[in-house]
Amino acid sequence: MPVAEELAKKQRQISIAEFFERNKQILGFDSLTRALITCVKEAVDNALDACEEAGILPEIKVEIEEYGDEYKVSVEDNGPGIVKSQIPHVFGRLLYGSRFHSLKQSRGQQGIGISAAVLYSQLTTGKPTVITSKIGEGFPAHRIELIIDTKKNLPRIIKEEMVHWEKKSGTKIELFVRGKYVKNRKQSVYEYLRSTAIVNPHTSIVFIEPDGNEIIFERVVDELPEQPKEIKPHLHGIELGTLLKMCKDTKAKKLTTFLANEFSSVSINKAREIAKIAGLENKNPNEIGLEEAKKLIESFKKVKMMAPPTDCLSPIGEIYIKKGLRKETMMLSPEFISTDTRQPSVFSGTPFMVETGIVYGGNLPKDERVEILRFANRVPLLYQEGGCVITEVIKDIDWRRYGLEQKGGRGIPYGPAIILVHVASVNIPFTSESKEAIAHIDEIKKEIKLSLQQCARKMKSHLSKKEKKEKVKNKFLLISKILPEIARKSAEMVGKPVPSIDSIISQIMNIVWIEDEITEKNGMLESRIRIINYKDSSQNFILYAEIPDKEKVAEVSPEPAEMKKKVIKWRVSIKPSEKIEYCFKLNKDSYDFEENNLYISGINPVNVVGAEKWEGEG
């Protein structure tokens, strides 16, 4: 055997273990704590992707057990299962996966994840990984113990058997790792799972900690997110290497057909224009070399092109983010949650979109930095917060305008709030291969900023409303409790009857007072609006109450003057010191109905507390 071949063999022998050693950080195994999180994360990401692709609502069980300085990690899903012959390839081979070259919004984009966890397990404990999988009712479950042959980068099966598994279908991975289990920290398995549950409200996760403590993250949405579509690459933003590979692989014989067929948003006319500019008309794409490919890329820049289609993205959705946040912050009983989903946008030919949410108040700590939850394609980002574009945008916004504290109007704000940002894209631009921070790309920055500002405005409007209510509450306390007591006590002391204070009350208040309340009753949201006339004359005006949708309104009383799609309209006629109550009920599925928005017309707004001036028509 020639020496060179001998060497090449050796090179390959050391390559995989060394590759892992060199890239520990990139792969997410650089500390004992992080290694444990990464193992869980890779397995859970895989499980979620598998379930969703098969259209199954994910039910995932994660268990971590402690054995001295080793931990056993088990992750089990109810997905479609994996056929027996494929199991070794999925778990026992680095860089094996179906998604490596596809342009599609998905959790894993590298196909390196789960096998890296298997390798880490084997390198730190010497133990094989156990996979159990079943592909459906009537099929047997296969249990396979395997290791990775680091010399050949091939799986080696240690033991395989058929076992009985109650489950209809699913996959379970069990591996032993050296690691460290931590609690009450942002970077922990618990936080990773909690964050995952927030942005995957269609998932249920059961988590058993090493001490036996069981935590359940319940499903709140019984509907799978829409499956993201695969799209062809766009000419803007394609890399030279990818282009060369595509040229080589294509079956098209003409450059123009190649461009028109294998890229998105390229018409045949556009393709001709490009080929002409590049001077490569009638060229066979298979014959395109490095220099020609460079020319091609230059010519891509010179033509105007349609943006890529953006229907390939699968956002979580405003309401679902709200549901996820609400469920996971329930024990903090926050007073307000606002969310926003932007329209898809494009950077360098790559579609992306931004979603945000803000949780405010309740038992969230008042004088600490706000909590930031970052997500890329529904995967929580736990590390490298400082280097991420999301953090940068948050620091750039002047949060003082929206009711949070921030020294000098810059930096991470302080206050009882959680800020969530999700970036979805067919190709998330990470700052490095470790995929923990999103790169600083202007288009993404702009979208995050606009979205956060939208959420923040809603929060601010809530806070102003609250402040106003507080003032009104004080006045109400004054006239309903304190003033009558002053009257009673002074009468007692002078030994005379208690005087009537009605006219003094209207002098002090001199307004029409509107208060409202939303309660949940028998699966309905009930909104009650109470109007009290504290003016000394009768008042006639129109009251408008905003509703999410006419269809969702179950009951209105008294009979409204008019009901439009988004608003209920009442004619109010009220005598001095009279009280009138208005009420409507909504089907409970209206989670986006946080607060009443009340408006009035036909009366001077300065005489009314608790409703704004109606700016709409009619």
Binding site: L477, L478, L483, E485, I486, S490, S503, Q507
Partner: protein, 364 residues
């Protein structure tokens, strides 16, 4: 019920009547009282003390905090009425705790209830002692050649010689020092020296300075209690004894002097009753710090802003004070009375005080 208490009660009832009348006539109930701030004190030529000026604040039930104050006023008046009728007294602290049972009218802190008791004094032109309210603080100490006659708890008259009949800690001033409780029988002393700190008071006592200088020594205990100031005022008025004030050399001590001599801002409604306008400041002055080369500390931020505020305080608008305060701001130093110990324990009584008193025109 004493006539004093009865007339106080009548005045208090007038407040309740005012509120009732407002309500009866459909007016938003309110009370007026002088603004108790530095900008609202004026010099009363007749009594030569600082009193409240003509700025008034109005407590009207249109705002929640004011309405609370009106309600508390009603409750406090009613409570005082009960005490007067049952011939009981309570401390200001007890009053605060009693208010716990007043539901909406309860106080958030004792500061609030103390202040309202003072407000009632201002509105009725009576003393809180007439309302059967007494302060928590025990009176300060006195040593000197004076005989005092006090009515004891048992109702007997007892004569006390404030050198022979008392221990080293001296005679303790009771909270009520009015004539019906306390009378000066005789004295051979020719002046009163009021001393800020306990350490210096004990030093003067140990060095028998009361005998050597023929003085009555009074311990102020920091910012002096009303009874201490009233006691000094009576010594000055009834026995014609000049009063000398001896304190630390810092802005807070100058305020102690000012409250003895001119009246405090908080109690400006009874200044003519508490203040001794002829009281003189002996030291420690900023000039003393330089002249006697006293050990000193740097002024801190609060000291400096207190001095600056004193430059604007109407009570300090004379040449002596303006010069001394400006000097202190320049040297940025302050000194304690006890810094005089630098030259030995007897220095203060053998050298410093005699020298300073001669400077002030006393024979030593």
């Amino acid at each position: 019920m004493s006539t004093l208490n009865e007339s106080a009660l009548n005045e208090l009832k007038k407040i309740a009547e005012k509120i009732y009348k407002d309500l009866e006539n459909s007016r938003v109930p309110s009370l007026e009282l002088p603004a108790r701030t530095k900008t609202n004190i004026i010099f009363d030529e007749r009594y030569r003390v600082w009193k409240y000026g003509s700025q008034f604040i109005k407590r009207s039930a249109t705002s929640l905090p004011s309405a609370y104050m009106l309600l508390r006023t009603m409750y406090m008046i009613d409570f005082i009425r009960q005490m007067i009728e049952q011939n009981k007294t309570s401390t200001l602290r007890e009053l605060y705790y009693i208010s716990e049972g007043w539901k909406n009218a309860k106080f958030e802190s004792q500061d609030e209830s103390d202040k309202l008791a003072e407000d009632l004094e201002i509105m009725t032109k009576k003393l809180r002692e007439d309302f059967k309210l007494r302060p928590e603080e025990d009176g300060a100490r006195v040593i000197g050649n004076i005989v005092i006659e006090e009515i004891t708890r048992g109702g007997e008259k007892r004569r006390i010689h404030c050198q022979d009949d008392v221990g080293d800690s001296g005679y303790s001033i009771p909270y009520n020092v009015e004539k019906e409780k306390l009378r000066f029988v005789e004295t051979s002393a020719d002046k009163v020296i009021a001393v800020e700190t306990g350490g210096m008071f004990d030093r003067l006592v140990e060095n028998r300075f009361d005998e050597k200088s023929n003085s009555i020594l009074v311990h102020l205990k920091g910012q002096p209690a009303r009874s201490t100031r009233r006691f000094i005022k009576r010594l000055n008025e009834e026995l014609n004894l000049p009063v000398i004030v001896f304190t630390d050399g810092d802005p807070w001590s100058y305020r102690i002097y000012a409250s003895v001599a001119y009246g405090a801002i908080k109690t400006a409604h009874i200044s003519e009753y508490l203040a001794t306008p002829s009281a003189q400041f002996l030291g420690v002055t900023p000039s003393d710090i330089l002249n006697y080369e006293l050990p000193s500390d740097e002024l801190n931020k609060e000291d400096i802003s207190a001095l600056k505020s004193e430059l604007k305080d109407p009570r300090f608008q004379d040449e002596f004070w303006i010069n001394e305060i400006k000097l202190q701001l320049e040297i940025k130093k302050k000194a304690e009375q006890q810094a005089l110990a630098k030259y030995g324990l007897d220095y203060v009584t053998d050298v410093y005080l005699p020298e300073k008193m001669v400077e002030m025109g006393y024979e030593v």
